[in-house]
């Protein structure tokens, strides 16, 4: 096995999808990379002083400002005349990206900084104990959107972050998944080969928050894609350039292995609503493998 830039010995939970994805991202980026990290699980489990997992220069400031700190890092690197030699990655969880950090991220994208922003989307505030975020899916049971006799959990669908990022007119936007390692690494490399702001959103299962078995991380991640609930898409210069096509599985297969959706299993009406979300994705992004059609080998 080749040397990694994200070393073992950190304190992530067993089966953590984010630690897996973070390693894949930095190893794809390589040693000439500076990482700016929002506050969140990844920062907490990888940098407990006096130890660190990071084999690249790495900085954490606050919950919501990685995109702005990275803007400063990129400006400094440019000032030093090293703009073409060093990759800059800003990264954070879904809350730090889509909620509290959205303004800073929008500013970073709009100003055209040469930065790759990676959002590790585990669909809730896991570091503080599974509270609902703007990227929590519809009907999810979290600690602040609990299911109860008068509620099926989270009231709203996921905020369309990839489309919001894409609306900034940036060269590259992609969704990826901890369940598809090579695809994720290919997207990171592709993003870093392009100048300007890039956004990749990686779906990362959280066994603790999603309440699935720790050995099911990859499987759960794959099911999200294979049901159409987490479409893997790439946009280049605003236009969809690639998608991972699927032979759609019913959403129930994805829902039933996770405790956060357990309350839905006896409510077919709710499962129907979630199936509609998947069906809409399948239609909107053209995810379904047609008869005679081959799966895009690069996706």
């Amino acid at each position: 096995m080749s040397k990694t830039l994200f070393n073992s010995g950190h304190t992530a939970c067993a089966g953590c999808g984010q630690s897996l994805a973070a390693r894949l991202v930095i190893d794809a980026a390589g040693p000439n990379t500076i990482v700016v990290n929002n506050t969140g699980c990844l920062e907490v489990f990888s940098t407990k002083y006096p130890e660190t997992s990071w084999g690249v220069p790495w900085i954490h400031s606050l919950f919501e400002n990685a995109a702005a700190v990275a803007s400063g890092v990129e400006s400094a690197v440019k000032y030093l005349g090293k703009g073409d030699q060093i990759n800059i990655i800003a990264q954070g969880g879904d809350g730090g990206t889509a909620d509290i950090g959205l303004q800073a991220l929008s500013g970073m994208l709009e100003r055209g900084h040469n930065i790759l922003y990676v959002c590790y989307d585990n669909e809730a505030y896991m570091n503080t104990g599974v509270q609902r975020s703007g990227l929590t899916p519809f009907d999810t049971n979290t600690t602040t959107s609990p299911a109860g006799s008068a509620s099926f959990g989270n009231l709203r669908p996921k905020k369309p972050m990839p489309e919001i990022a894409n609306a900034h007119g940036i060269p590259y936007v992609a969704t990826a998944s901890a369940g598809f390692a090579q695809d994720l690494q290919r997207k990171v490399k592709k993003a870093l080969s392009l100048k300007g702001p890039k956004y990749i959103q990686v779906h990362v299962p959280c066994p603790l928050g999603w309440r699935h078995e720790t050995n099911l991380t990859i499987q759960v991640a794959k099911l999200a894609v294979e049901t159409g609930l987490y479409p893997l898409v790439e946009y280049e210069n605003g236009i969809i350039s690639a998608r991972r096509q699927i032979t759609p599985k019913p959403v129930e297969e994805y829902l039933k292995v996770q405790g956060r959706f357990k309350h839905l299993l006896k409510n077919p009406e709710e499962i129907k609503k979630i199936q509609e979300i998947a069906d809409n994705n399948i239609k909107k992004y053209g995810l379904k493998v047609e008869p005679q059609q081959q799966v895009n080998p690069s996706a």
Partner: protein, 393 residues
């Protein structure tokens, strides 16, 4: 060279001479002329810097945090609400030991919204870990920026420095200013050589999680550095004098206090007005004086004690409030004498000049007059009692 300059223009010019590689700011009155000036300087190719127009003060502070973490000298400026919006980043910058230099155009805070000068914004940030200087006039504001970079970037200090200048009074006022040459500035201020930075050839983790086993020591060290800065500032000031020929104390300045019976303690541009009043009253044989606080952080406790210990009557002017408690500067000046063998008989506290209300020579004379009577506690000067009669009954 003496030039007749607006304060903001003078500050933009001195920042240019300090050669920051990254400037980031978000507009807020009355800081705007400073960053507009710098934007033009960069646009004209007179300064090789990245000018980052961010979407908020939070991001302005975060951007310079990132650039200084790369070992590049940086600059930002703000005021009032902008300073408050930056607040969590400012604490973070100090804790991360990154020498960001910032000009703060001191301004009142909302509500009610008010764009004019007082010290409520800057004084609220006194516990942030930033070194905080207060300028009396434009010349001092210019000089304090040079001192700020030199001090903050010193390897023994590595702290951010905020130069507070009174909004409008100094940002928009004009003065004859002695602007130094590039050669003089280069002689005084070496290029920034960061002892730690984000560098792919020497990877480092900055801003890690620190648990109870280590956290206290980081804060202890921060506090110790403020103490050490008290010793370094006079040495830097001496070098400043050698290069530029202007002399400051850098911590406090006594004006006619040696034999004074009544002394006003104050910060910022009001000190100019007080000096005029002192001169007038001295001509009439009144033994009055001024103690100007230049460095609010670190707070020069021993220097203030020495300066005031034999003064019978002291008045502290606050252009800020600590609502529900003592006025901030007055509380700290009183604390200087706690348990000490010598102390003034009276330390009166006055609130004056909030939200840009003029502090006239009459206001200052009134304070000196009131010092002949009983000790006053948070007494408002120039209050309009007729405005306090409204009722909702």
């Amino acid at each position: 060279m003496k030039e007749f300059l607006e304060g903001s223009k003078a500050i933009a010019e001195i920042v240019k001479l300090c050669k920051p590689g990254v400037i980031s700011a978000y507009p807020i009155t009355p800081q705007t002329h400073i960053v507009e000036g710098l934007a033009q300087i960069v646009a004209d190719g007179k300064l090789n810097a990245q000018f980052v127009n961010v979407e908020s003060e939070h991001s302005a502070a975060s951007t310079v945090l990132g650039s200084v973490a790369c070992g590049v000298r940086s600059y930002t400026a703000t005021s009032s609400q902008g300073l408050f919006y930056m607040a969590e980043v400012l604490y973070n910058i100090a804790g991360m030991r990154l020498p960001v230099i910032m000009t703060t155009a001191a301004r009142a805070i909302s509500a009610p919204i008010n764009i004019w000068n007082d010290h409520q914004d800057v004084v609220s940030l006194r516990d942030s870990g930033w070194i905080q200087f207060h300028a009396e006039d434009i010349q001092e504001a210019v000089d304090l920026h040079l001192i700020a970079y030199r001090l903050g970037e010193d390897k023994s200090i590595m702290l951010p420095v905020m130069v507070c200048i009174d909004g409008f009074v100094l940002t928009h006022g004009v003065e004859n200013v002695n602007m130094p040459s590039q050669e003089e500035v280069d002689k005084f201020l070496p290029p920034y050589n960061a002892p730690y930075k984000l560098d792919v050839t020497n990877p480092m983790t900055l801003g890690p999680l620190v648990d109870p086993d280590f956290y206290t020591e980081t804060r202890f060290a921060l506090n110790e550095t403020h103490r050490e800065a008290l010793e370094l500032i006079p040495k830097i000031i001496l070098e400043f004098f050698k290069v530029f020929g202007r002399n400051y104390n850098g911590l406090i300045e006594g004006y006619q206090i040696k034999d004074a019976e009544r002394v006003i303690v104050a910060m910022g541009s009001v000190c100019g007005t007080i000096k005029e009043v002192v001169d007038e009253l001295r001509k009439k044989g009144k033994k009055v004086g001024l103690l100007k606080i230049t460095s609010l952080r670190p707070f020069p406790v021993a220097h203030i004690y020495e300066a005031l210990k034999n003064i019978p009557k002291v008045a502290v002017i606050d252009r800020a409030l600590s609502l529900g408690s003592f006025a901030p500067l007055a509380g700290e000046i009183r604390a200087v004498f706690f348990g000490k063998p010598k102390k003034p008989k009276i330390i009166s506290s006055f609130i004056v000049g909030l939200g840009g209300r003029d502090i006239t020579k009459e206001s200052i004379k009134e304070i000196f007059r009131l010092l002949t009577g009983k000790e006053k506690q948070g007494e408002f000067i120039d209050l309009k009692p007729e405005l306090l009669r409204e009722s909702y009954e």
